[in-house]
Amino acid sequence: MSIQVIEACFVISKMRGDNTIIVHTMSAMPMISAISPSPLNISSVPLMGGASGIGLGLAIAQPDRKVVVLDGDASLLMEMGGMAQIGDQAPANLIHVVFNNNTQFGGVANLDRPGGAAFDFCAVAKASGYATANRYSIVPELVAGGPALIETPGPHFVELEIARPSKFTRESPQLEFPDTQFQRMGAEAQAMMGALGVSK
């Protein structure tokens, strides 16, 4: 059993309040941007591995807002040391969600990632000092677990077992990345600072 990215993003969009910041990357990025657009969204792109660090900084600087990080599994592996930082700093308002499809470049090449399906992200989160760590493999589990993520102090860690997407074929060639891919994070940072009332 597994959860589709669109299902996970839909549930998360319903859980977020008006003041919730979302930091997203990898497979969640296009879906959460479409389902739940907001100036309080920021993408970690092109910066694989950066989402949890950006989320930690935002959670510390904005303690009265929930900060939800939608991370990728291979991204989190790349910067796994950041989980120790989150445990150290223990921001009560941080919810760290990893979309685990056991894949790198999901939907494009579907390459295997290190660790395989047996790699236990929740065990790492618990050892790092997160307040809770839960793995959900079906949508009702995520729906049922959602309120506690919002209502109880974190940092919380959620591992979602995500369905591996179909990969590109010979008939769907890889596209050129547009300039906006490289300008997006900065533009979103400016928009978020505006929405937060931050002036520099």
């Binding site: 970690s44 950006i54 930690l56 600087a61 910067e79 931050v198």
Partner: protein
Amino acid sequence: MAITDYAIPASALHDAFRVQGVNAVTTVPDFVQFALHDAMKSDGAVRYIECSAENQALTTAMGLYVGGMSPLVMMQNQGLLNCLNTLRSVGLDAGIPLVLSVGAFGREFANLGQPITKSQRACVNLVEPVMAAMGVPFFHLETVNDLPKVAEAFATAKEKQRAAVVHIGHYPAWN
């Protein structure tokens, strides 16, 4: 000059950064800047965040900055070379004007008073040209007379909307 003449008092560095509004530090601790680490960590008005790797020091600082705080990123030269892609993404593409305080780990004492590009050690002599190649403004502090460059680094980062490096050439003094 005596070797101690190259040791800028950590209190002066601390003050120079604090005057710029710094109220947070993200860091992978630097062998060179021990005295400045001590000064920053003991400052109750500074949120001091120890990071596992330099990439995380940069991304966490970005989150702090966007959220309204004024972070300083502290690392040593090897760490700077370790996080070039994140520096590219955060400090150039996204235009987050972070200031990095980078220590010249491994600099031979014979190089003090000389251009760091003349150091015999790659981790020392590569840093300035690599930053130049990336277009990251670079401000080298050799003696206490260079302290005004700290303010210049912050002003340049803000004006150009990109990261800037303050390079600490020798161990800061514990005063």
